[in-house]
């Protein structure tokens, strides 16, 4: 994304707070003017102090009165500005984050499946955080910095033009010095980031799988590998840090030279009696001291802002991703059980590699359909299409003679109950997880569902039973236990049609048999799709589809296929 577009987008978020922004600018202007006016007042006051017995106290008290007012104005305006900037920044950032997240929920699954989750998360979390820092700094320092430069110029030119010119021409030297160092150190920072990345991925692996490391007594080797990268990192960081840390001393030195020049030239002018008073010279020195500050601030802010814009760009990139396509005629309806037919369905994830070329299938209402076949044959793809996680590339899928693309995704999904092989549990209590599809379920209903899924007995043994809090991804639960909870989730909220994609793959066979019984009862009169690798679990299906390379190569009942002696029979023989 181009920076300009990113900034435009950012501004559209900031626009909502434009009244705040205007106030912030006003306060910034006020605080800059009053801040710059203070040294002038102080200088004037010093000019009233000439020598022994020659001090104009009346004059001083008048000036001090003015000074008090400026101080009050500076204080209030700075405070108000800080508070407003704080509000704008964090509100803007909140808006962006919430928007981005909501957008994520309307993106097609193909986006989520094909992007690294870590990357998306870092867009939502750390990128937006960096953006917040950048914005806050930008708001507080960019405008005030620019105003300060202009204001200082104005005041200086008013007091004395030649000395003002000395300041104007000498101070940029420190900026050049800073820019020179920054340019030279950039590559060092890149190197540091690379080494740091290397270290992080090693840590990610070794700490992420620390149990494995211990099981193989690999600690020493791991430590050695770590030490090697760690040392390289020390060297790279050292270089980057040291060379970049020269910026401050060098600019301070150059500023010192300016200060001296102003001091000496100013003093020489003052000696001749004309040109400049001591008080004004002090005001000048004060300006010379601070004149480069806003430049440095602005250059810092610009770096931060560039960084922030890059981060914002990554966030907006996410926001620019096209949402799920809404088809013509798509509407919310109440989905009931019905015939499902696939006609000439064509689909592939990777458009350069065909997966499903031409799939035809008729499923009558209430049928139990089992799908078997080797990994990658398209079993789960079929489920993805039925649930409209993905839409077909060609052909059509119809439910009760209505193209499912004309049924809104949410109502279609309401019609299906689904248990997947990958168990997903939310951070929260066991109870919340079971009630995921029906948040208003009573405790009795939840327990009944858990019992039906044969999950009750293990839940009971958890430290707080149904109120046990599960950490991310089910916490300490075993794969099988997680799967039982997912099944319980289904039992609590039984829709007209069912999809069981390897729903019991991690459950021991004894429990599986019992759950299968419960499933059978559930499937009674409901159109159901079952993907399974244990052939024993699908025997009683009305129709078994054997898939291979995206095609249905055989279909029929268990007995028929067994007799046929084809691929299914072969699978069957191997699994005995």
């Amino acid at each position: 994304m181009k920076s300009r577009d990113v900034i435009k987008r950012l501004l559209s978020y900031i626009e909502r707070y434009s009244a705040f922004m205007a106030l912030s600018f006003l306060m910034a202007a006020l605080s800059v003017v009053s801040t710059l006016y203070a040294p002038v007042l102080t200088g004037e006051a010093i000019d009233k102090i000439i020598s022994e017995g020659n001090v104009d106290f009346n004059g001083i008290s008048d000036i001090l009165l003015k000074l008090f007012m400026t101080i009050a104005i500076t204080c209030v305006s700075q405070l108000v500005m800080n508070l407003i900037n704080n509000e704008i920044t964090y509100r803007v950032v909140r808006d962006i984050r919430v928007d981005a997240y909501n957008h994520l929920n309307s993106l097609p699954l193909s986006y989520i499946d094909s992007h690294k989750h870590g990357d998306v998360v870092s867009r939502l979390v750390s990128d937006i955080d960096t953006l917040a820092d950048g914005l806050l700094m930008g708001f507080t320092q960019l405008f005030t910095g620019a105003l300060t430069i202009l204001g200082t110029l104005f005041f200086m030119l008013r007091i004395n033009v030649p000395i003002a010119l000395v300041v104007v021409f000498l101070t940029p030297l420190s900026l050049f010095a800073a820019a020179f160092i920054a340019k030279r150190t950039h590559s060092l920072f890149v190197k540091q980031a690379e080494t740091r990345g290397e270290l992080t991925s090693l840590v990610d692996e070794m700490v992420g799988e620390v149990k494995l490391v211990q099981a193989f007594s690999y600690e020493e080797e791991a430590n050695e590998r770590f030490a090697k990268i760690n040392e390289a990192l020390e060297k790279d960081s050292m270089k980057a840090t040291f060379y970049s840390s020269l910026t401050n001393p060098v600019t301070r030195f150059v500023n010192g030279l300016c200060y001296t020049a102003v001091g000496v030239i100013g003093a020489l002018k003052a000696v001749n009696g004309g040109g400049i008073s001591v008080g004004m010279l002090t005001a000048f020195l004060s300006y010379a001291n601070q004149y480069t500050k806003p430049f440095n601030e602005i250059s810092n802010v610009i770096t931060e802002l560039q960084n922030a814009i890059a981060c914002a760009g990554r966030v907006f990139e996410l926001k620019n991703e096209e949402t799920e396509k809404i088809y013509e005629g798509e509407e919310d309806i109440e989905v009931k059980d019905g015939d499902i037919s696939l006609e000439n369905v064509r689909f592939s994830y990777d458009k350069s590699r065909e997966l499903i070329k031409c799939l035809n299938l008729d499923v009558k209402k209430g049928m139990k359909v089992a799908i078997v076949g080797p990994t990658g044959c398209g079993k789960s793809t079929l489920i993805n299409l039925l649930m409209r996680f993905y839409d077909v590339d060609g052909g059509s899928i119809a439910l009760s003679d209505r193209d499912i693309r004309t049924i809104s995704r949410s109502s279609l999904r309401h019609g299906f109950g689904m248990v997947l092989q990958e168990t997903w549990l939310k951070t929260g209590t066991v109870k919340e997880n079971i009630a995921y599809g029906k948040p208003d379920a009573t405790d009795e209903e939840i327990i009944a569902a858990a019992k039906a899924a044969h999950a009750h007995s293990f839940i009971k043994r958890l430290s707080q039973g149904y109120d046990t809090f599960l950490a991310e991804d089910g916490g300490a639960l075993s794969q099988g236990e997680k799967q039982l909870l997912c099944i319980a989730r289904l039992f609590l909220n039984i829709p007209p049609m069912l999809i069981l994609d390897e729903a019991t793959s991690s459950i021991d066979t004894r429990t599986e048999i019992r759950i299968q019984k419960a499933f059978h009862k559930l499937m009674e009169g409901r159109t159901s799709f079952i993907v399974a690798h244990r052939l024993s679990t699908i025997r009683e299906s009305d129709i078994i589809l054997v898939m291979k390379d995206g095609d249905i190569i055989e279909q029929g009942s268990h007995e028929e296929l067994k007799k046929k002696g084809g691929f299914y029979a072969e699978l069957l023989a191997a699994s005995v």
Partner: protein, 596 residues
């Protein structure tokens, strides 16, 4: 947090020199207003141009010396900070890898990773900035006060009043916001968690049409974060305006009372200028100090998080070092015995396994079977002491397993965990986990036993084939077979297969078991499985149900006597396994892991 200071030990000299040179630089900086005052009083006052030039030269000289000192200081502080970072990181890494499973469970791997990376980086920056600025800024602040006294004692009293007020403001705000930053981080973590979960659970969320409620939850979490951020921000917003007021009121006072002193002839105009200048210097440095304090607040928070990890000590001690000799105890008497062994996980209300009694002879194969959550894996985790028994004990060669050294014990056990995890690196790197000196032949033998040789050979590069992080470029079955080979490379005396053939088809599984059986030496094998076919030929089968031992014996015995076993067996297709060699021919056509 104090404990972390020990990592500065090796850099003691540099850590002292860095701030020292900074102080030198600061001292020169403090002289500048005096020189300027002299220019005003003597140069302008006496119309002495030569003097003005001389003093100008002095100021430049001060600048050059200051620059040299400062660069030296930057060098020493960077060296110190980076060295500190390296040592801390290395130690933390070592510490984390030494934590037992109980602690790892408690802390969670993702927490450990962020502490290892982000927090240590923050600490490194914190140390660097601390050495550079923490002494310099207060030094200039106090130095300016002292210099003020040399100019005029009476007027300098204003500094004595202003300074405590400034310190109260700066530190008051700092102490108010430290705990708040911690809170902000906590809320940010929640947002992170929710983001991650929404991605991993996208299908479920959509299947249950819970997008709107998830969005609502997310909005709430974000709102809470925003609330905390705003709150901290509001407090910090007071810092600059308040300090500004104090400084400028003081300047006004300086001018007024300085004027009085000049009126009395006790002070000159240049002196008033010097006093005002010192007061302004205080402001500049205080702002720096405030920014530094914010960095250091984050650093302290990071330090506490890192210290928390260090504070967690491994609950397991390996203080003894009996050796586990392959020759002892051949076939007579028990090699491994479980004596009423059991484990209750920390904070769990009921034991996960309890009352296990089992005697295993060297070279025996033990099947362990039971339902989901019956405690099979837990029991296996007790043998290499990933967890210590909370009841009863386990003995190997007649000695409690706690008598053995860690490497001795774990080095003798080859473990194939349920979850097939691999590291990024070549296949060979992964196989050599237990024995870094293993030869290619040894690796190949292990691969053959694990039924992995054929597919490894077909990969480009063979053993040198690169495995991506988390083994993404391998199928489930391939990963599983590699983990089996990996366990065999260490030439273990005990092999534990923890449900590790679940992704293999029956034929491969059978071939695997046969190959293991044929290995030379007396390998004692534990096979954990949910399918009776995998364990029916074991010498003994242990049947677990709800963490309890409900059966022990051979397949036939158990079919007779054990209700649970019979049920499991009956639930699994037609019963007896065919001769595995006869099935081998089928395998190729079925592509090994047809049902992976």
């Amino acid at each position: 947090m104090k404990d972390l200071l020990k990592y500065l030990k090796n850099y003691r000299v540099r850590a002292v020199l860095a701030p020292l040179f900074k102080l030198l630089e600061a001292s020169f900086e403090l002289l500048v207003p005096l020189v300027m005052a002299a220019i005003i009083d003597k140069g302008i006052g006496n119309n002495d141009k030569a003097y003005i030039f001389k003093m100008g030269a002095v100021m430049i000289a001060l600048g050059v010396v200051g620059l040299t000192c400062s660069i030296t200081a930057q060098y020493f502080s960077a060296r110190t900070a980076m060295g500190f970072g390296r040592e801390l990181r290395a130690d933390l890494f070592r510490h984390i890898t030494s934590l037992s499973y109980t602690e790892v469970d408690k802390l969670g791997a993702s927490t450990l990773i962020t502490r290892m990376t982000n927090d240590v980086n923050q600490l490194q920056t914190g140390v660097n900035m601390f050495l550079r600025l923490f002494l310099r800024s207060p030094f200039i602040v106090f130095g300016a006060c002292i210099m003020a006294f040399t100019v005029d004692v009476k007027v300098a009293l204003i500094f004595v009043i202003a300074l405590p007020v400034l310190v109260i403001i700066v530190f008051g705000i700092m102490f108010k916001s430290i705990p708040l930053y911690k809170k902000v981080q906590g809320k940010l973590d929640t947002v992170l968690l929710k983001s991650r979960e929404s991605l991993s659970g996208a299908r479920v969320i959509r299947a249950f049409n819970r997008e709107r409620t998830e969005e609502e939850d997310y909005r709430k979490a974000t709102e809470e974060l925003t609330h905390e951020q705003l709150f901290v921000g509001r407090i910090s917003a007071f810092l600059n305006p308040l300090t500004y007021v104090v400084i400028n009121l003081s300047i006004a006072a300086l001018v007024w009372f300085g004027g009085e002193q000049v009126d009395l002839g006790l002070l000159k105009q240049g002196g008033v200028y010097a006093l005002v200048n010192y007061m302004s210097q205080i402001l500049v440095e205080l702002v720096k100090l405030a920014n530094l304090i914010i960095i250091e607040m984050k650093t302290i928070a990071s330090a506490n998080r890192v210290a928390e990890v260090f504070a967690v000590k491994s609950s397991m001690s390996f203080d003894k070092s009996a050796s586990l000799d392959e020759k002892t105890n051949a076939s007579d008497g028990a090699f491994i015995s479980f004596k009423n062994a059991g484990l209750t996980y920390k904070d769990a209300s009921e034991p996960s396994v309890t009352g296990i009694n089992l005697e295993v002879r060297r070279g025996e194969t033990i099947g362990v079977i039971g339902g989901t959550g019956s405690g099979k894996s837990t029991l296996m985790n007790l043998i290499p002491r990933f967890y210590d028994c909370t009841e009863g004990s386990i003995e190997i060669d007649g000695k409690p397993i706690s008598d053995y050294g860690m490497e001795e014990l774990r080095g003798s056990i080859g473990i194939v965990p349920q979850k097939a995890a691999l590291f990024s690196g070549t296949i060979a790197d992964n196989l050599k986990l237990a024995d870094s000196n293993a030869s290619d032949e040894e690796l190949e033998i292990a691969l053959k036993t694990a039924q992995a040789y054929d597919f490894v050979k077909e990969k480009p590069g063979g053993l040198k084939h690169f495995i991506e992080q988390k083994g993404r470029n391998l199928s489930g079955g391939q990963k599983q077979r590699l983990t089996i080979a990996r366990a065999l490379v260490g030439k273990p005396q005990i092999l534990i297969l923890d449900d590790s053939s679940s992704a293999l088809d029956y034929a491969t599984d059978a071939a695997l078991r046969k190959a293991i059986k044929e290995l030379p030496g007396e390998l004692t094998v534990f096979i954990v499985s949910q399918r009776t076919a995998s364990i029916m030929h074991a010498d003994k089968i242990l049947v677990l149900d709800d963490g309890r031992q409900v059966g022990l014996g051979t397949h036939e015995e158990l079919l007779e006597s054990c209700e649970v076993y019979r049920e499991i067996h009956m639930s699994q297709d037609t019963g007896t396994e065919k001769d595995s060699s006869g099935l081998r021919s089928n395998r190729k056509s079925l592509n090994g892991e047809a049902f992976a």
